[in-house]
Amino acid sequence: MIIENNAVFFNDLLIFRDEPSVEFTDFIKKAYKFLKIEYPKFFKMDNLSKLAFTGADIILRDITRDKEENNVALVLANRSSSADTDIKYQKSIENKSDYYPSPAVFVYTLPNICLGEISIKHKLYSENTFFIFDRYNEDYMANYSAYLIQSGKAEKVLCGWVEFLKGNYRLAFYLYI
């Protein structure tokens, strides 16, 4: 499953698309509505979490629906960590005469918060790890996912890349069974 250039692909099929000129925040809101996710906390998330959450929902909605708990591990990676929100937060503490750091922004200055958001929505009481690489390292990511399944620590693994920085983004998720 891929989200890039304002288009959402699932199993190589285009399921939603918007004009390339549309800003990410508008695009992801439209995708959220199109996918009928109906989860008010979505609007409180930062852009990285909105992206990861939307991608995960497409893959997980049929797997986790009506279940009390799910053992789908989350193994995600990106390049910029939470830098997009870090920069936003840093701006809020630059001016000492207007110094009101926001707890709701600060909490998203960690890349693994999106793992928490996905886990809460889909009741994933499961292994989760966030890695950082220059670019997607399939060898490391696939082997880590394989370990979780072979060791019995997870039934399935949602593994992939979720990058967001200054409006540029890319998501590519895979489900290992």
């Binding site: 008010p40 979505f42 609007f43 409180k44 009101y100 750091p101 926001s102 707890p103 709701a104 909490v107």
Partner: protein, 85 residues
């Protein structure tokens, strides 16, 4: 007081990103946390920042939030009594 209540409702919606809520959805005496708007502990901290930034009120013990943020009525009286700007 009615103006202040309306102002607070608008600010809460904006600051807490309550995308699908309009001021008319928030009853003056309804609880803000738990049921109702479904606000949580981060929202409470964010409202504490709002009180500081817009009304010059410092709340240093998050536990005080339970009383202050009970409802729009409670919040409006608190702001009216304590605001310094």
């Amino acid at each position: 007081m009615e103006l202040l209540k309306e102002e607070l409702k608008n600010k809460i919606i904006e600051v807490l990103n309550l995308e699908e809520v309009v001021p008319g959805d928030i009853a003056d005496d309804a609880p803000l946390f738990g049921e109702g708007l479904g606000l949580d502990s981060i929202d409470a901290l964010e409202l504490i920042v709002l009180l500081d930034k817009d009304y010059g009120i410092k709340v240093t013990d998050p536990k005080d939030g339970k009383v202050i943020f009970k409802s729009i009525n409670a919040l409006a009286s608190f702001v009216a009594e304590n605001k310094t700007k």
